[in-house]
C-alpha cells in the first residue's frame, strides 16, 4: 500500500511538473473568418498563429534592423492609419532617399491573397518580405545578414524563443513571424460591412453609390474583398519615365502587357495616391479616368463599355467608397509600433 502511494505521489509530481511547463507554451490565436467571406487562401497549418508569433512579427515589422543601415522598416512604407500604405508619395522611397518604381500596396486581408506585388511576382505571403529587404532602393540588405543581426540581439533571442520554443533564428522563422503579424491585419468592420450585416443603414447617397459600384466596378473589385485577385489593363498609358510593363515582366506573355493586380478598395479613402504608379491624387480623378475610357483598345473587357457617369453619380460613388473605411482597423491597438516596454515584452 505504502509503495503504491509513493508511486502515485511520484506520478502526480511528474504530472504537476509537466503542467508547469504548459504555462510556458505558446498561446494559440484563432483566425476568425468574417461571416459570408470566402475561405482564406493561406495555409495556417504550415504556420499556426500564436500570440507570441504575432508579437514577434509585430516587432520585426516596425524594426529598421531589416535594412542595411538600420533606417528603413516595413512600416516606413506601410503605415497603419493609412491602410498600411505609403500615403502622399506617388512612388515609395526607401534607403538613402532612393525612389522605387511603384506606389506601395496596402496591407490588409492578406490571408485571402493568392499572389503579391503589383505584378503578382511573389507567390506566397511568407516570401514577400524578401523582395523589399533585398531591393537596393528599399532596404538593400540580405536575408542572411538580417538573421545574423537578429541573432546578436538579446531581445530577439527572447522573442524567437517565446514564439518558436528555441532561440534559433532562421530565415524561415523570421518570415513566418512576419506573416503572422500580417495575416491578422484583417479589415472587416467598415460601414459597408455593418450594412451587409444589417447593423447599420446606408444614406440615400451611399445607397445610390453602391448601386453604381455594383454596375460598374464590382466585376473586378469583387465583394467582400473588393478585389478579384486578377491582373487587368485599366487603360492607363505607360509612364515613359518608368516603362513598367506590369504582369508581362513575370509571365513574358504579350497579353499581360500593362496588366497590374486589381487592388482592394477597402480603406481606399486614406490610401491615396492611387494606381500602381500613384498618378492620381484623388478618388474623383480615378473615377474620371474610368469614365473617360469607353471603346479603348487593349483595355480589359470589363472596361470596354463606357461608364457614362454624371457628375452627381461620381459624387455618389465616392460617398459609397468612403463606407469602406474601417476606423477600427486603422486605429486597432493591436497593430501599431509595439510600445510595450522591454520588461513586459521579455518577461517570462
Amino acid at each position: 500500500m505504502r509503495f503504491n502511494l509513493r508511486n502515485t505521489l511520484f506520478i502526480g509530481l511528474l504530472v504537476f511538473i509537466s503542467l508547469s511547463f504548459v504555462k510556458k507554451l505558446t498561446e494559440p490565436l484563432y483566425f476568425e473568418v468574417p461571416k459570408s467571406w470566402p475561405k482564406p487562401h493561406y495555409n495556417f497549418k504550415d504556420n499556426p498563429l500564436t500570440e507570441e508569433g504575432f508579437l514577434l512579427g509585430r516587432n520585426l515589422f516596425y524594426d529598421p534592423i531589416l535594412s542595411r543601415d538600420n533606417t528603413i522598416s516595413c512600416a516606413s512604407c506601410h503605415l497603419q492609419t493609412t491602410g498600411f500604405t505609403h500615403v502622399d508619395h506617388a512612388l515609395s522611397h526607401g534607403i538613402d532617399g532612393k525612389i522605387g518604381t511603384r506606389n506601395s500596396m496596402t496591407l490588409m486581408n492578406l490571408a485571402w491573397s493568392k499572389s503579391f506585388m503589383w505584378d503578382g511576382g511573389v507567390n506566397h505571403l511568407d516570401v514577400q518580405p524578401i523582395a523589399p529587404i533585398t531591393s537596393e532602393v528599399e532596404m538593400d540588405e540580405t536575408l542572411e545578414n538580417v538573421v545574423e543581426k537578429l541573432q546578436k540581439s538579446e531581445k530577439y533571442q527572447i522573442l524567437f524563443k517565446k514564439a518558436f520554443g528555441t532561440t534559433k533564428i532562421t530565415g524561415q522563422r523570421l518570415l513566418k513571424a512576419l506573416s503572422q503579424f500580417e495575416l491578422l491585419l484583417v479589415s472587416s468592420n467598415s460601414k459597408y460591412d455593418k450594412v451587409i450585416r444589417n447593423e447599420e443603414k446606408f444614406t440615400e447617397q451611399e445607397q445610390k453609390g453602391y448601386h453604381l459600384f455594383k454596375n460598374n466596378c464590382s466585376s473586378c473589385h469583387n465583394e467582400p474583398l473588393f478585389t478579384s485577385e486578377k491582373f487587368e489593363n485599366n487603360g492607363l498609358t505607360i509612364d515613359t519615365t518608368l516603362n513598367d510593363i506590369g504582369r508581362m515582366k513575370i509571365t513574358k506573355k504579350p497579353e499581360d502587357y500593362l496588366r497590374f493586380k486589381v487592388p482592394t478598395l477597402r480603406n481606399v479613402q486614406f490610401t491615396f495616391p492611387y494606381m500602381h504608379d500613384g498618378r492620381f491624387k484623388t478618388l474623383t480623378e480615378v473615377i474620371k479616368h474610368y469614365n473617360s475610357l469607353g471603346n479603348s483598345k487593349n483595355v480589359s473587357k470589363q472596361l470596354s463599355k463606357p461608364m457614362n457617369l454624371s457628375d452627381n453619380d461620381r459624387v455618389d460613388l465616392v460617398a459609397f467608397l468612403k463606407t469602406l473605411t474601417d476606423t477600427e482597423f486603422l486605429f486597432n491597438k493591436r497593430f501599431p509600433f509595439p510600445k510595450e516596454n522591454y520588461e513586459t515584452l521579455t518577461q517570462e
Binding site: M117, G121, I133, T170, Q172
Partner: protein
Amino acid sequence: MYKTLLIGFVFNFFFFQASFAQKAADSLILKLHLKFGKDDLELGKKYVSTKKDTLQIDVFKFYISNIEIQYSDKKVYNPTNSYHLIDIENSNSLRIPIGYKNNLAIKNVFFNIGIDSTASVSGALEGDLDPTKGMYWAWQSGYINMKIEGKSSSCKTRKNEFQFHIGGYMKPSYAIRKVQLEAKNQEIDVSIDVSEFFSAIKLSKINSIMIPGKEAMELADYSIKMFKTE
C-alpha cells in the same frame, strides 16, 4: 526499484548509441566530385573550355532533390524530404547520406537538379531550402536551381564577370531537370564536370542569364551533361 530503472536507462542509452552508430556506418552515401575536365574543380583557378574561353569559377552552388535509388530487383528507394544544397565551399555538402542500404546491387540513380514547383510555392521553408541560403529570388518567387559565377577574358562585361542563375518553376519555363545515372558500383560516386557546361556555350555571347525563361531552359539542358557516375 529506482536503481533497476537507472541501470536500465544507462544500459538503454549505451545500447541505442551503439546501434545508431552502427546504422550511420552502414548507410549509403552519394558522393559528389566537382571537376573541370580531368582536374578537381577549384575556385579562382584558370581553366580553358573547349570553346577556347579562359575562365575561372568563383561560385558554384546547386540543388539536388528527390534522389531515388533503383536496385537490381527494380524496387526503388526514395528517401523522403530530400532537398540538398551542394556548394563547392561546403565540403560536407558533397556527401549526401541516403540512410538505407540494401544488399542488392544498385542499378540506377535518379535525382533532380533543382527544386520542384510544389516546394517553390510553399512559402518559407527550412534547412537547405531556407531563403537565407542565397538561392532564392526576390522580385519573382522561386528557387535558383543552379548558380555558376566567375570571370573570363572573353566576357566584355564589368570586371569580365559572368553569372548564370538557372531557375524557374512555372511552365513553360520550368527549369528543373531529371538526371538518370547507371550505377557503376555499390558506392555511388557522381562526378560533376563543369567543363561540359562551358563546352555548350560561348562566353563572349552568353554571359549573364539571371531570370527564368527560354535561355535558362537551355542552360538547364546543358547542366544535365555535367553529371556522370564514376
